[in-house]
Amino acid sequence: MKRSYRARNKTIPLLTTVSPVAIWLILLVAAPLLYVLFLSFLSTDGYNVVFLFTLDNYKNLFNPTYLEIYANSFLIAFFTTAICILVGYPFAYHMARAGKRKKTVMMVMLMVPFWTNSLIRLNGWKTLLGKTGFVNTFLQNLGIIREPVEILYTRGAVLLGMVYILIPYMILPLFASIDKLDHSFLEASNDLGANKVKTFLHVTLPLTFAGIFSGSIMIFIPSLGYFFVSDIMGGGKSQLIGNLIETQFKAGNNWPFGASLSMMLIFLILIMVTVYKKSGGDMEDLGVM
């Protein structure tokens, strides 16, 4: 019996610290997702959810119209990720090689645009890219084009918006992994006769792969769902999975189908995260901005 006194004294602090988060997460993360899973097997009468078991929502996922939307969505997600890597890597590399003070300044300058609402910033792009916008006027004045070209409301514009909103999520993990890189590795490689390009391909790139991977997850997944980017930049012409889900829950009022679409996304993410973890990725890297 002697141990019970102090054992009890550890139970109370454990409960006070951990039970709020446990209860919160169970009620507001686990339960909602399980409920959506449940919803995905129910039917609808056009207005309301009907408690009738069906697999139709999952069959419906393979409707050719939707397949086209998935293809479009994945294409945009893929190119967004690729462009973010290509643009972000040199920037992150430059930032990691800067002095301590300059690093802080560069980092803060990277974060400042975040504090202006992303919708507003996308509206800024709209002004820039419209038919009478800066870009068109500029090109016309230079004589490169005669008539204003359609830049806005294209897939390219959606892609630009995605890259614009998401690129910091690539730069930050890349910076973290390049910054961690021991400079002596590079010197050793140079010393062993590898030139700059070879050093980069054989040493730097493999060692910073973790950063590329976690950055890619942090970009690829949200870009499937950012329906507002496609709304603003694509004018609703370029549909994404996110738009499809949004429609089911708002205008379309087909919650069970929206639920099955969400489940498909979760399944996809589960695969990506599993691969990420299998290849030695750290989950916490995905949550640190």
Binding site: K2, R3, Y5, R6, N9
Partner: protein
């Protein structure tokens, strides 16, 4: 002689972390006002014992009493003992004054009284004038003193010190050793000191508890621990020793003739210990007690060749290799006579300079331990 009063009593204490049995059936009484050192290599359980007295670990079994009162169930803040941590554990966000005053603030002592006592404590550890500084602005030795002042201000019955000098350089260590010892004498507080440094233990302690893999191998004064090590481990760990495996071949009175692998030797039997013929023992001889001669001494025939000599200050150490390949160290002052390198010599010693140890000793614990765990 004054009556020695027990202040901490550890009774049959065991500590098990998962699969690790860290402290075995420990019985230890610490007396009021003494400087007791727990000595042993890392992982021997010494810090765990200290943490159990402090209240940071709970014994798996057994009792701990402070001033006759059982404390195993008490939280650290309910015990009248204080700890000086290995990493100092100073509060980084408080200045020195606030660090030292912390204990009194917790006791809700009046402000003026706190000020008076903090000033007194800082005076004691010679840090007056440092009140406004932060721990990060102090040197290692100064941090150490703050940690001591912070722990002492609560007037603990016992001060527990966990390798407090481990992070300091050699010169500062020596200074702090003296300072700590003087402080302890001046205040008359019981110190329980944990270290793996045998020299530190020998210079500072009233008594030393030598720990080996969770067992208390010996509890004695520094002189006795050095002169009469109780186990092979103690002999090996404290100072340099020549240890020979032997069997008892004759016993006449209090002297025994023992057979080594390479020859015979004489030694005095320990008083109060019973031996039997052909019993396995360890004979332990300190390097300065090893004698040499050209011819055989009576009762001895151990032959060796001087392989090399090393000068350590004014001491010459001769490494003598004997027939089974064992190295015997012989140390002499440089003004004494020493054998030449390459010379063949006979080794012997004064029978009462040998410490005879039962070869069971600590090993027997392990046999029992392994048996009780179902073997390894």
């Amino acid at each position: 002689m004054e009556e020695r009063k027990a202040i901490v009593e550890i009774k049959n204490v065991n500590k098990i972390f998962g699969e690790n049995h860290v402290v075995h059936d420990l019985d230890l009484t610490i007396y009021k006002g003494e400087f007791l050192t727990m000595l042993g290599p890392s992982g021997c359980g010494k810090t765990t014992i200290l943490r159990m007295i402090g209240g940071f670990e709970e014994p798996t079994g057994g009792q701990i009493l402070v001033e006759g009162e059982r404390v195993e169930d008490k939280e650290p803040f309910e015990r009248n003992v204080n700890t000086v941590f290995q990493s100092y554990a100073l509060f980084p966000h408080m200045n020195i004054w606030n660090n030292v005053a912390y204990g009194l603030k917790m006791k809700k002592v009046k402000k003026e009284e706190i000020s008076r006592q903090v000033a007194e404590m800082l005076q004691l550890v010679r840090l007056n004038g440092f009140e406004k500084r932060y721990p990060s602005q102090l040197s290692g030795g100064q941090k150490q003193r703050v940690a001591i002042a912070r722990a002492l201000i609560n007037r603990p019955k016992v001060l527990l010190l966990d390798e407090p000098l481990g992070a300091l350089d050699l010169k500062l260590r020596k200074e702090m050793q003296l300072e700590l010892k003087n402080l302890q004498k001046k205040l008359g507080i019981t110190f329980v000191y944990v270290t793996h440094d045998q020299e530190e233990a020998l210079t500072m302690s009233d008594r030393i508890a030598v720990m080996n893999q969770g067992y208390l191998d010996q509890l004695d004064t520094p002189e006795r621990v050095y002169e009469k090590p109780a186990t092979k481990f103690v002999a090996d760990f404290i100072g340099e020793s020549n240890i020979f495996e032997a069997t008892i071949s004759h016993m006449t009175g209090d002297t025994a003739s023992i057979g080594l692998e390479v020859g015979n030797a004489l030694c005095l039997l320990e008083k109060g210990v019973s031996y039997s013929l052909s019993e396995m023992v360890y004979a332990c001889v300190r390097p300065e007690k090893v004698l040499f001669s050209a011819g055989e001494a009576e009762g001895f025939n151990i032959k060796g060749v001087v392989k090399e000599q090393i000068y350590v200050g004014n001491i010459i150490k001769s490494n003598i290799i004997i027939a089974n390949g064992q190295m015997v160290i012989l140390s002499r002052l440089d003004i004494d006579e020493v054998p030449k390198v390459g010379e063949a010599v006979n080794i012997y010693w004064n029978p009462d300079d040998v410490v005879l140890m039962k070869s069971r000793g600590y090993q027997i614990h392990h046999v029992i331990e392994n048996a009780s765990l179902g073997g390894d």
